[in-house]
């Protein structure tokens, strides 16, 4: 299974980067999922709300169309623990907005322009994630 997973990963990754390239070269904007959504929600992105909504529409609806037309949606293995989902969602929402970026903005777009802030943020959130798994899964066995 691992042998094909990396090919799908690489191919999907190229599409992600292509999306970022279109948003940059077309709209002149950095493709950061948390910034695009967060700016809509806290009102700071009101001046270009239409293109934010269009971007989010594409992100949500194209996978829906693919799943619908192929009759097959990928497994997400998402937890059924509501407390974990709420806690994690709050942390991701607050954290990405305070840090001004997530895996797409700081990770993909930041690293590819060799931004020190992007590289540092990516290193920090990866380390925090690794630590979370190490403690909560490997040591305590709760997630």
């Amino acid at each position: 299974m691992m042998e094909v997973d990396w090919i799908w990963g690489l191919g999907g990754g190229l599409l992600i980067g292509l999306g970022g390239a279109v948003f940059l070269l077309g709209n002149g904007r950095i493709m950061g999922a948390s910034g695009i959504l967060g700016g809509l929600l806290d009102g700071s992105g009101r001046s270009n709300a239409a293109e934010r909504i269009a971007f989010i529409g594409g992100v949500v609806l194209v996978p829906l169309l693919i799943a619908f037309s192929t009759g097959h949606a990928p497994d997400t293995h998402v937890t059924n623990n509501a407390a974990v989902l709420i806690g994690a969602g709050l942390l991701v929402g607050i954290g990405t907005r305070i840090a001004n970026g997530c895996t797409s903005g700081h990770g993909v777009c930041g690293i590819s322009r060799l931004s020190l802030r992007g590289i540092a943020a990516t290193g920090v959130f990866m380390l925090a994630g690794i630590l979370t798994l190490a403690v909560l899964r490997q040591l305590m066995g709760v997630i």
Binding site: H77, V78, T79, I94, R113, Q138
Partner: protein, 144 residues
């Protein structure tokens, strides 16, 4: 109109890439972070794949203007502040906890059940509350 079409197209590519790469599978994302367990390297291939077109795109911005008008983002500032670090720590903890970050949370909304919807709702609430936290953080820094 061009801006809307371009944004829709970018979002579609982004969502499709997230779906096909396996990044909406929380087991693969947590597997990447679980270096002391059953480690899954897929995310490295996704990130590597995504960096290639993006690095080319940044090169292409030199001496040009965006196709739909306006201007390209200014050069990033280089200082690392407490917001960047603290925010990234909180984000990373939440990312590890559920295996979802903002992009995949949106891309998988249609097939991630009530769980995906609950995560997304909590994330949206967090994003709306974030400016309040940011102001608090700044005030604490000013008083320190």
């Amino acid at each position: 109109m061009l801006r809307i079409l371009s944004a829709l197209c970018a979002g579609g590519l982004f969502g499709t890439g997230l779906m096909l790469s396996g990044m909406t599978d929380t087991a693969k994302v947590q597997g990447w972070l679980d270096i002391f367990g059953n480690w899954d390297p897929t995310l490295a291939f996704v990130m590597g794949g995504a960096l290639i077109p993006m690095a080319v795109a940044w090169r292409l911005t030199a001496g040009r203007r965006p196709a739909a008008g306006g201007s390209f983002p200014a050069a990033p500032h280089q200082e690392l502040d407490r917001r960047l670090v603290l925010g990234s720590v909180l984000f990373g903890a939440g990312w590890g906890l559920a295996g979802l970050c903002p992009g995949p949370a949106m891309a998988s909304l249609s097939y991630n059940g009530w769980q995906g919807l609950l995560f997304f709702t909590a994330m949206a609430c967090g994003m709306m509350a974030a400016p309040w936290f940011s102001r608090h953080l700044d005030r604490a820094a000013a008083n320190a």
